[in-house]
Amino acid sequence: MIRCVGVVYIGSGNNVPPMNYIDETGNWTGFDLDLSAAIAERLGVKLERVVVNNKTRISFLANGTVDMVVSNLSHTRSREEQIDYAEPPYLWTGKIAYARKGEFENLADLAGKKIAVDQGSNAYIAIQQEIEKVNGEEPDILTFQSNAECFLALKQGKVDAFTQDSVIIAGVAGKEGVEYEPIGGIYSPGLYGIGVPPNDSKWRDEISFILQDLMKDGTYDEIYDKWFGEDGKFPLQPCAKPVLPKEAFGEKQLYIWPD
């Protein structure tokens, strides 16, 4: 599709800071936006952005509305059945359950409680499975249309906890996060990947190669440092780059296909 029109349609969300959001000055920005802009530049075609949300990002890929989705898209089995992913994933993340300080000690305490999730996020299934593991009572899950609404519901006491990818919670809670804390540790580890339409391996390879080129020549690191580095807008500790084991390959080596 890109070949004939010279335009690449890239889908990203706009309410998931710091991955993709509208900043105070009204600009559509975020890690996903920077990464996809770099990819479009390498493709050498015009970039046309398409707004997607958690519910449309898969169907837009499946029906060909967009050529790729760069929108905090975790790689999951159920999504893999519908679409394909470029390799490698570009960020690892895990989910946390977030609640008022001192209210809960670990995830098991959330059994039977009210929990907010962003509709369309796989946190919906993940938190239930996590609580099922400890044989807890099924939680009452409220779904909202954005992460900001989830956090507002938590602040107002409409829910007991809010669960989402840790990087997103950091972005949404921002400075107000001081009164809240993650309950227990990170659960349901995941990797953000670039979604591409199913059954088009040529296109998928093209994107994979470009992504790996960006990782090889340092463009990816630049974008990462801008957002999540020590002096970035949302410093992440520990580093969220999907790196190879340090003992074998040294510090922060990304996995790139050999020639």
Partner: protein, 250 residues
Amino acid sequence: MKLFINYEFDWQKILSGQYLEWILQGIRISLSLMLISSMLASVLGVLLTFGLLSKHRLVRSGSSLFIELCRNIPTLIWLLFFYYVFPELFSEPVKTMLNSSQAINYWAAIAGLSISSSGYIAEIIRGGILGVSREQISAAHTLGHSQWEIWKFIILPQAIRICYPPFVSRLIHNMKNSSLALALSVHEIVWATQQIESLTFRGIEAAIIATIFFLTINYVFSRLALLLEKKFLINNNKKIKKVKDVGGYL
């Protein structure tokens, strides 16, 4: 962009187990939202009309201000207002009670939908009442009919006939608006279809189910309304004629 969608339907998946349960629950909740909010909106609308026609200036301007607020604020904002802002207007014990209540999202949706529609309904009824010719009313006064008789035999039968069609349209509009409740995590039919889409990615099937539901409900409702109109409002017409015959002047 591909213009033609090559899509294979998979109904089996979404019409079974948890998903079917969500759909059935969604239909139940949607129907109750539609029914309760339409009734409340109608009652509130009638009260507001009385307010508009009141002898007291304060009541009149109060009602008119309220109607403007109802009509000029988007329905979704009303829903979000009742869910997020309304509890904050109270002080501590009530606030926490409201916020932690299990059903606040459902009742916030009912309140938002009813308020939003009531302003329109009040205006529709007022329009119906004003649509009755002033000459008829003056004539009836001259003939010595009481206020009550004038309302019962002259204003109401004609006003109802005038405002019935737009009133039915407004209720249909309100029934469609009920889907906005999904923003408050009310598990109505569109919530169910969105949830199914986000878990199975079968968005088209899910949307088709919601569409069929709304089409059916609203079609049946508007047909019923038309039947009622034919059966009762045309009879009312005859009644007016009878009054005319008796009065001779009307």
